[in-house]
Amino acid sequence: MFPELNNLLNTTPDQTEQGKLTLLCDAKTDGSFLVHHFLSFYLKANCKVCFVALIQSFSHYNIVGQKLGVSLTTARECGQLVFLEGLKSAVDVFFRPQEEPHPLQFLREANSGNLQPLYEFVQEALKPMDSGEAAWRCPVLLVDDLSVLLSLGVGAVAVLDFIHYCRATVCREWKGNVVALVHDSGDAEDEENDILLNGLGHQSHLILRAEGLATGFCKDVHGQLRILWRRPSEPTAQRDRSLTYQYKIQDKNVSFFAKGMSPAVL
């Protein structure tokens, strides 16, 4: 996790908000550093994490996680992390008997119906243990990312329904959090992606949007992060609804600074 981002969001692993949906999106840049941040953040916060990883392999996230101070292997072994490796298990769908439900069942269907099997996988992974003692703080669902589901043929409404059900169960019933990444292609032709992005935006409590700089690539400033709080927990507080910072990604850290205040240009 990146301590500076924690400061900007006003959270620490010890006191995370619960029952929130956080939307991560990126436009003209790679927002995956936000995924790595939240993964290590919630693991350090002692939450039970279900990570639906459709983009990269387990070892990729593990390597980055080690730089940020968490070991995914250890977390998976002790049961804190449930990892769905999309790249590997997608192949399993075709070599298993059809009766057995698989979270990525939609890959088998000609016109993909819905993501109910995936929802049931998440439900199974995060449901509170009956033993009574709370081993982990709260359940967290992390998805990297949702745009690839559109590319795989799932409709935008089906993805929205999946997140709706995750929100109803993980956020509302179990007081956990959901974090999902969606790419904003900026392409005016991609209506499905726009519906997904805006639909999720309306459901979210917090939106983090990583954008490339309008002026192009830069060695010292990698992009701009816009933070939008949609449903603040204390309505009476004078809240900053929207903040914008620029950032630079380093090997083990991301540094944030106000616009134009990069140390390189001062």
């Binding site: 059900y165 726009d194 309306h202 609804r241 929207s242």
Partner: protein, 316 residues
Amino acid sequence: VTPSEGVRRGTRRILEMLESLLALGGLVLLRDSVEWEGRSLLKALIKKSALCGEQVHILGCEVSEEEFREGFDSNINSRLVYHDLFRDPLNWSETGETLPGGPLEALRALCRRTHPGPVTIALDSLSWLLLHLPCTTLCQTLHTLSHQDSCRGDSSPGEQVHVLGLLHEELHGPGPLGVLSSLAQTEVTLSGAMGQASAHVLYRRPQQRPTHQTQWFSILPDFSLELQGGPPLEPQPYPDPRVPSMDPTTHLTFNLRLSKKEREAKDSLTLPFQFSSEKQQALLCPGLGQATSHIFYEPDAYDDLDQEDPDDDLDV
């Protein structure tokens, strides 16, 4: 205008805005966006209706019942009936707890309600319904819903049905938006500037031209409405305690401050082109002990060594 008159006028204006939105009856369309959300205005209208003694039915698809009822006191909450389409709208859990027939049946059930008296129906949200139901079916049902009083022959003219629909503009194309807009008697589009929300209201009174009005407002935590004059004149300064304070004066290659000794040395320095009398004397008379300078010159082969002053023949 005395202060008390101003307050009375202000209170009247507040009441007028909510009342005028509800005055025409029928469908009130609230169009919001990701940046300017409309649920608080929806809840403010619901509160107003409940305080007027109406029963309010809410078809809740997007937020849970607890979250929707947050902020309302028990007086208002007792008048709200929440039809829960949030927990399990598509019957995935198959526990039988969900509303039978799904969203369409739930909507149609609201049309068939037989309870007498004025009623307000809130649809949170129309966008969800539009994404899950065919547009034509939804529009026909909405039309039936908002014209209920004409179906019941014995209803008194004062009893109107108010249908409040929350619609997320960015999710739909111009076709469905246009159709819903034409069904609405009152249409509110939410936007804002510099942290201040505004509502652009379009009234479609029967047999009259549509009228526009723009109102700046803010919703208080108890969902009452406060009118504002306009956007704040100057942009709110960023209170930025969270930015990691980056001192730009560190790691500079030049000195920004002088020590006392350095300042004294600087003050006592005479500038090269500032002629003080000592400097003048020093230049005119090379003093004792001053090293005189010699010029050593080896003439070239082509040099013309002439001891005459070349400027002698100038007639200046």
